[in-house]
């Protein structure tokens, strides 16, 4: 539950965004990003369904590498 996942924003509707990571899409709340509006194509760090901060594409990609391994690990558990 406490694992942050970087996601890319594919659509924004008010305070909700459709975000994608590694082919999986999720609805993500942008309610905590009001001081720093988020646009389609940008990357955000998502925690329990809420974007907590923006990040660059490069940071998102390097974070995904390790999540790949972790999610594989969870699937096996």
């Amino acid at each position: 539950m406490c694992l942050g996942i970087p996601m890319q924003v594919v659509a924004v509707d008010g305070f909700m965004a459709r975000c994608e990571a590694k082919g999986v899409e999720r609805d993500v709340s942008l309610f905590m990003m009001q001081d720093e509006p988020v646009a389609v194509g940008e990357y955000v760090m998502v925690h329990v369904g809420y974007a907590i901060q923006k990040m660059t594409e490069q940071e998102a990609r390097s974070a995904w590498e390790i999540y790949d391994e972790m999610l594989g690990d969870v699937a096996e558990a």
Binding site: C2, F15, S29, M32, I52, A63
Partner: protein
Amino acid sequence: MSATARQWLERIRALPLPDRVRIMNVCGGHERSISMAGLRGTLPPQVELIPGPGCPVCVCPEEDVYHAMQIALQDPEVIVVSFGDMLRVPVNLPLKETRSLEQAKAAGGDVRPVASPTEAVEIARANPGRRVVFFAAGFETTTAPVAAMLAGDPPENLLVLLAGRRTWPAVAMLLESEDRSFDALIAPGHVATVMGPEEWDFVVEQHRLPAAVAGFHPESLLAATYSVLRQLVEGKCFLDNCYPEVARPGGNATARRFLDETMDVIDAGWRGIGTIPASGYGLREHLAARDARRHFPDYGAHDRKRAGLMPKGCDCARVVLGKIYPNQCRIYGSACTPRTPVGPCMVSDEGACRIWWSNGIRTREVA
């Protein structure tokens, strides 16, 4: 470009290290990355990486779990929702009794896992005639989204049983204790993202301990490890930020505002550890109508045998405090495994025992 993991390791190996350095992390995500990447095996033997209080599920008061179970059991019209990990945490009752939220569900309670506060809102919307109680345990990274959810004016039938905790007061307590069990700190990257890295200045300023905020990639963790080791060797402490792109000065201002608007900082209990001053969150007065603690009678049954304690034989409290490693618990891997967890540290994905076990550490060690 930042240095690669190999380069960080080379720099670490080149340092004139003392005989023993204990570096504590306070984040389940850090511990997972460290264990998965096998960082312990790559560092010089003098360097110990100690998992500390990084698991909110592990320290959630046993009475709160019991309370949530009773809410579900007493009135089947109430829906209790919580993060998946919380559903499997056992309370201290005899084995044949209903001992977890999962079992409360099997016994007829309407208990549902959620992955986000937004899902709790959806469930409340879909069930307008029923009360939905969101049992929300978590550190700042989880509690801030709960605050944002509350600030967004959710349906009136959504109540919150809040068990939010703040990370730094637990570290402060450890630093103030007489038998401090670490020499440097790796501060949690996402707590710092939300609350601001400055929250950790006290480690350096008041306790003169090296500290660095780290992200979750092995390179960031090694950068932070190098930073604190170098600070130690050079005798110059400062709070380094090895996750600057995401953990920015001041944190997430919106998130902090929501926390301030909806919650008070309160003294709070940590399972097996006791009360830590200013370490928890409580709903503010204007949200009293949503506060499950005021809405329902206190079902915590504090006079139960072992109420509030860790299970018998379980060393989770000492694991959480970084006093022993997970596999130094007397029942690690024997009575307690992920399949039959005795303590919360083996239940939660952020629990150090669970992380060590799922990364292949199967042998017990004597503390």
